[in-house]
Amino acid sequence: MNIFLKDNKKNQIYHWEFLISDINETKSFNPYCYTDDYYAVFKQIIVSLLINEKIVLLDADFSPTEVAHLTGVSELGAFTKPLIENQLQKIQNLDDLIQKLNGSHPQWAITLFTSGTTGIPKKVSHDFSSITRHVKKSSRQKNCTWGFAYHPTHMAGLQVFLQALLNGNTIIRLFGLDTQDICEEIKTCHITHISATPTFYKLLIAIGGQYSSVIRVSSGGEKQNPKLFEDIQSLFPNAKITNIYASTEVGALFASENDIFSVKAAFVDQVKFVENELWVHHSLMGETENNSDEWYPSGDMVEIISNDPIQFRFVNRKNEMINVGGYKVNPHEVEEAIMNIEGISQVRVFAKSNSVLGNIVCCEVMVTRQNITEADIREYLQSKIQEFKIPRIISFVDAISTTRTGKLIRS
């Protein structure tokens, strides 16, 4: 296929020729990428690689206040600068593009934001070698067609994008489409590779059917159960299924064909387990604002299955992040935002399990001002935090539920 990207949500097909001439005509570059257009995000990343300049990915649904807070600048447009002559060498054809992209990028770095554990999203930067650590390049990868089932500005999406791009593969957008349309795209575009969250596969399983073109399926991001593996296999009878452990801080680290993981020989000295929590050595990590410590506690709790060689299974998260369809919501951040509303004296944000998204965010509030309404709270939060973080169920209570030690109960 001669297609670079098919974005059915926008009714657009972008051929490689179009991308190449678009790159060749590029006259300026902005290091901040803040758009929900897949093609625009991808092109901006490609240009940053070709001119060897740093790039910062911002989720399109961050509010302007959040963006200003995260980046420290309020007018991103002001950072657009014209390219100097020969900064962007003319691309001859697809092979030339792939060759240049696979070259060295010493100055290049990409910055993303995690959902964070202490209030605001955390900034993480990766250089080319750490972000492409798990990218496979070989003649076998040449004719793959990737189903793109992630947000383009998130770590997992970036990994899939680079895997496809560096092999010149076609990308078919699946994220954000209706489930019926996703099924159509997999079939009509003969998608061969899909990486997605368990939630994504659950939606497909609910509709049923079989997709014989798919030969590789990977999943990660949420805890998996063996039944889900079976169901995924029956959807994709010809596929090899891989379960991937990855995070924004570390990138992709472990892969397994079931829910039991082992440590590759190359990383054996760079991971350890402290009281059943996975710790990662800083040499494997992207650069964060405060990663001066040698070891990083991942917050992921494991069950050790054997010690020599070490094998383990992920059990749960140590912290209290709420997983809403693969998006992580920090209850502390939401509570902090709600507490800023005048007339609210106490709040508890918690998860309620949900058949559609895994969990949804709920909250209880105590008020000192009687005329405050659910609509007031929502309206305020809409300008402060991302939509998926806003509690969907808000109850007004006389007392907040706490544990015996006075901690808020999370579920």
């Binding site: 209706d178 489930t179 939606l203 609910a206 509709i207 809403v324 369809g325 309620k352 949900n354 058949s355 559609v356 998204l357 949804i360 709920c362 659910e374 609509a375 929502r378 309206e379 809409q382 939509e387 998926f388 969907r392 169920i393």
Partner: protein
């Protein structure tokens, strides 16, 4: 199904649908019918659908998305009727 029960159910689902819509700053719908599509006609995304299931479950004690994907109002009523 008894037509009166169905009308009652439609009204109470409409009320729930409107709560979800208003929570997202959208205006109230005047009417829904069995063929009304949750995504195409009402404009619900997955967050809205998640909220809808919770609100319906709170009222009818049935998780409408537990076993399958639901696309229309009629399918919701069917599940609620089966679950009675």
């Amino acid at each position: 199904m008894n037509p009166l029960i169905e009308i009652n159910m439609l009204e109470s689902i409409l009320e729930i649908v409107n709560t979800v819509r208003q929570n997202r700053g959208k205006e109230k719908l005047v009417a829904i019918h069995n063929e009304t599509h949750l995504k195409n006609d009402i404009g619900f995304d997955s967050l809205d659908l998640a909220e809808l299931t919770v609100r319906i479950e709170a009222k009818y004690n049935i998780d409408i998305f537990e076993n399958k994907i639901v696309n229309t109002i009629g399918e919701i009523i069917e599940i609620l009727e089966e679950g009675k």
